[in-house]
Amino acid sequence: MAEVQILGLFHEATPTADTIGILRQLGVPDEKITVMSGIPYRPEMLGRPRPRRRVALISLIGAGLGLLTGLFLTFGIFLLYPLEQGGQPITPIPPTLIILFETIMLGTMWAAFFGLLGENRFPVFKSQLYDPRITEGHIGVLAEVEAALADQVESILKDNGAHHLRRETSSPRRTDVRLTAFWATVAGAVVLLGAVTLLIAYDVLKIRFPTNMAEQDSTAYLQGPRRSAPAEAIPIQGPVLIDGQPASEPVPASAESVQRGKELFSITCAVCHGPAGDGNSPLSGFFTPRPVDLTSTPIQDLTDSEIYLVITQGRGGMPNMAENLGPAERWDVINYVRTLAK
């Protein structure tokens, strides 16, 4: 059965209150009557029941959420990065309290706002029975009654001083396209903002600035031309080997040499060839071709000098390690690699 909405406008609070009393006597329940006004009248002024107020409660929940956020931001980060600063404890309490206070307040107030929206079912974009004069100081009484009572209610309103009357048949609920669009826009904006922030934060969208000091003069030469060593000059470490020639004085494969080789291998080689030398390292997936398995027969069949040359000059995807391993150290590594044979 169709319901009818009737809106009457009043000038003043007293006749409004009177009218509402009459309507109640007529049997119109309180929840079917809505009073609209340009200023906040107290329910008592209009003889209305006090509306339910849950915003404060929601704020309290917000405060709790704020507390949890604050705890995560402070203790979470402190424990995630246990970095010492200024002799302070890793989880300092006083600074934490400051953050907790702010996040609790933030949670409280945001929750109050969203509580307000939620409790008022805001936003509303579909057309509602309303009169613009309400914001001019008039008080509107909106009664939702069965069609049969409509005329009677209308006359009651009129008799009690309602100077404008509007009547509308309640229509069944429709999906509110504008509301959907609104929330879609809000959600889209939030997602976009978050996405852009993360894209920048993860350097996917690179801002062209000397950003991380990774591309810079002091290491740029590593990609640049390698300058030749001075001819005939002799370094303090002793005469270096001439490119292309095997070493004349290999280091004997003593236990010390193998031990040194093991350390050097773990520093210089294991990154690619894996700690076990089998070509399985966390990095190996990054390379085409994959780093070779040093324990394999083809590698172990190479002569020492050949391995020495590979270390000195590089081969295929492997860079030369002459800058990383001294001549004697290369022999230590070779001696160690020999122990890896299957």
Binding site: Y81, L83, E84, Q85, G86, G87, Q216, D217, S218, E263
Partner: protein, 239 residues
């Protein structure tokens, strides 16, 4: 992997033998890629020297005395500059007892400089300018700091690391005197001594322990600086 032992790296500065020769200053520039700023910028108070020799005049003519105090980052144990950094760009390394500065984390709030009682932090107001071939001299172990980044003495942490790795490879403990920052390496009069206070036999420990001449700068602030100074001594000459 063997655990590296905890260290307490310390610099001892013997004011009796510091001659203000600037060898440490240039050594530091060379080792740490510290830019040289132009005359105009020096006038505007933006000179950058991680180690500087403060010269104080004492007395009036003709009884004037000049005092030299080399001042570098004091590597405080409770460094006031650290906790104010919002991005962990400056922090304390527990193991080495160093006050680290991670340049690529720095956003340049310059808060650390305000909170640094020794004013030994330097800010890159402009990008460093290494003209032409001068780029070739840059030490690849050390980042060249871009504009907007705070920098400071690190006790040549890259040299410490290098020595540690060498010792590790050779499977022996680090020897006293093996780790030398560039300034200590250069100092002709050996006024600068570097060492591990945790090592009871080190030269630094020997100089600091029970030495009546030792003091630390602004000790009353409680920052526990790790640079010890030795006051000038007196000769046994009757004046």
């Amino acid at each position: 992997m063997p655990e590296l032992p905890e260290r307490k790296w310390t610099m001892v500065v013997n004011l009796d033998t510091c001659t203000g020769c600037n060898a440490c200053v240039v050594a530091c520039h060379a080792e740490n890629n510290v830019p040289i700023v132009s005359e105009e910028e020096v006038v505007r108070g933006r000179a950058m020297h991680w180690i500087r020799i403060e010269r104080y005049w004492e007395g009036e003519w003709p009884d004037v005395k000049a005092r030299y105090i080399p001042v570098m980052c004091q590597q405080c144990e409770r460094a006031p500059c650290e906790p104010v950094c919002p991005v962990y760009a400056t922090l304390h390394s527990q193991r080495e007892n160093l006050n680290l500065q991670v340049y690529n984390r720095c956003v340049g709030t310059r808060y650390c400089q305000n909170n640094d009682p020794y004013k030994v932090r330097f800010f890159n107001f402009f990008d460093p300018n290494f003209e032409g071939l001068l780029k070739e001299q840059l030490n690849p172990d050390v980042t060249v700091r871009s504009a907007g980044v705070m920098e400071k003495c690190t006790f040549c942490v890259q040299r410490i690391r290098r020595s540690e790795e060498q010792a590790l490879v050779a499977d022996r403990p680090l020897r006293d005197g093996e780790v030398v920052p560039a300034c200590v390496q250069a100092c002709p009069t050996s006024a600068l001594v570097f060492g591990d206070l945790k090592d009871p036999e080190s030269e630094a420990t020997r100089l600091v322990r029970g030495n009546q001449r030792k003091f630390r700068l602004l000790e009353e602030l409680g920052a526990e600086p790790q640079v010890y100074y030795l006051q000038s001594g007196h000769s046994a000459v009757n004046e």
